[in-house]
Amino acid sequence: MRSLLYGGDIDRAAKARARVGLAIVVFAAVYFVIAVRLVTFAMVSDGRTAHRVVGGDAIATARPDILDRNGEVLATDVRVPSLYAEPRRLIDVDEAVELLTADLPDIDATELRDRLSSKRGFVWLKRDVTPEQQREIYHQGLPGIGFLPENKRDYPNGAEVSHLIGHVNIDNQGIAGMEKWLDGHGLAALHMAGLATDRLQNPVQLAVDLRVQHALRDELVAARAKFKALAAAGIVLDVRTGEVVAMVSEPDYDPNNPREALDPTRINRLTTGVYEMGSTFKAFTVAMALDSGRFTLKSSFDAHGPMHVGRFQIHDFEPENRMLTIPEIFTYSSNIGAARTALAIGVDAHKAFLKKLGQLDRLRTELPESAEPIIPKHWGDLNTITIAFGHGLSVAPLQALMGVAALVNGGLLIPPTFLKRTQEEARALAKRVIKPETSEMMRYLMRLNVEKGTARKADIPGYYIGGKTGTADKVINGHYSKASVLTDFMAVLPADQPRYLLLIMLDDPKVLPETHGFKTSGWNAVPVGGAVVARIAPLLGIQPRMDLPDADHLILASLKESR
């Protein structure tokens, strides 16, 4: 080879050809290397820059928007600049502290100095800077100080939907309400993978109707102020789908300021609290008696008082001291009557019936907050007697509402939900707990109670409301207190073709001059319920019907026809 290129004895022409050939090979190799490098650059570098853009895009991850059932925004992400520093690149810490405190009056100067003096590569200085502040700081031209856009959760409606949607922490992670539920359903995994940075996630639509929610909250705030109650709470439940159309527990908090949520008086009483619901539980007792087939609306029970059980005495609020029929027990709200009704059915059957209606198990919804009902350890005759009129068993109000919804909607127990649900989906989840005829009778009784019984103040003309009142003595230091009560009212709307069930609950309402010294449900929770119905019924698309016959003719008559 070497002799071919340099040897003196080789033919000149052959030598020249060999040299040219070598040059061709060398150049071809060089160009091949260049071509390969070009191709690899073209392919690799592209991917690398795209990745960098995504990585620097956002620190606090994006969350899907939360909408109400009509598409109104309940929670959304907005992009806000956050101020950070790279202490190693800072030249003059004193100057930086001086300039930054001038622009950010609410920042702590000593803490700022500590952070800037540290030897770390990256420190946050302030989250959520206003655009004006950003401009000022930007124009100071400090080295090592910069901004990163971050997602911040914004709740345009403030306190209106607080307990329902919950709130997020500073890193945009859900820590309460539906926000936490979102995290539990795949969003957290997306965050870990660093994929939840764009805004293109599908919004989540809830069952709540913002207008109804506002009307309910407005009335409850007014009621709480009027009756000087510790708390006021309310739910509107769609009895056909189990959707929670509105839920308010006043006092509530502003999710934009989550610190308020730490105050223990601001808990969500409807799912987190358990209460003795009082006479509304008589609805369960009566439904149980009617559903057993052993009693009809004509059956009567002895209501001579007081009733002696062991060393206890059961009194009626307004004693009748005679035999009462089931409709009379319901409308006079007779404790003795309800107790005798439950005893006639028996302790085990009573327990089984309440179990079937979901009153003895912890109710789980999408909301992470839930509470276990407080059930007597040894359930004897006395327990059945007191539970028959709503004392001695504490349940979450939403749970009791679910049970009553099953009593009026034709007998189907549908677990409540905060997400949108169609009737078909609800029917697939539903469980039959009582006969349709029993449900019809319950609607008749509830309507009768508004026409003639304890809930007369809720008889808003045109809406055919049915309802059951409840007043429970509150347990204070282990004893039932005569001084403070919990009143509630459950209203079915309209009573002949139920669509919605409303719960109003007032914690410790006070006596007012216009309530004539009474503080039972009929004087506070019931008128509030009536006012709420008058406001929300048009929003829910329920048309007022005037000149409807009374319950005896409308509901009871149709019941007899169907037999």
């Binding site: 853009v53 895009d57 928007d65 109104e72 925004v73 309940l74 959304t76 992400d77 907005v78 992009r79 856009p149 914004d154 345009p156 409606n157 403030g158 209106e160 805004r199 913002l210 207008r211 506002h214 009307a215 407005d218 808003i460 003309p461 045109g462 809406y463 008058a534 406001r535 019924a537 048009p538 048309q543 007022p544 005037m546």
Partner: protein, 157 residues
């Protein structure tokens, strides 16, 4: 000789190809820059939309609307008695203006002069139009101001 011509042609083609490749490369750089710019604009627009939506949500919140209504409007909540059904509606009043009429106001006045007046509510609302027809002498000024109003009404059609 032929070889030399081929040589020149090949050199020419080479130069052209190089120029062409350069152009493609330049174009692709421009496009890539445009893409980056549009992407960042898109992101900015999305952020703006999000903050505008949040702002709209705040402005549109029922609490705020109710507060404004209470302060500035005489509106009151609807009572159940104020709803009614369609079959309770009264019959449609007779048509005052024939559909193809070229002089609608003229035909309204014609209809009004007939003794068979339509329903009371229509007559009430038609009164301002009928008023200028018998203008008393001392109120000529009023009639004059009203006549142009009628004319402008006709022009609007």
């Amino acid at each position: 000789m032929i070889l030399r011509v081929v040589n020149f042609v090949v050199i020419g083609v080479l130069v052209l190809a190089a120029a062409y490749v350069y152009r493609i490369k330049f174009d692709s750089t421009v496009q890539a820059e445009r893409l980056t710019k549009i992407r960042s604009e898109l992101r900015h627009e999305r952020d703006t939309i999000a903050s505008l939506r949040a702002e709209w949500g705040e402005l549109d919140s029922p609490a705020r609307i109710e507060m404004l209504t209470k302060r500035y409007l005489p509106l009151k909540p609807i009572a159940p008695t104020q709803f009614d059904t369609f079959n309770q509606l009264p019959d449609r009043p007779p048509q005052l203006v024939k559909p193809g009429s070229s002089d609608p106001i003229g035909s309204i006045i014609e209809n009004l002069e007939e003794p068979a007046a339509p329903t009371g509510s229509i007559a009430d609302s038609a009164e301002p139009v009928a008023a200028p027809s018998p203008p008393p002498a001392e109120e000529a000024g009023v009639a004059e101001t009203e006549r142009p109003a009628v004319k402008s009404g006709r022009l609007d059609r």
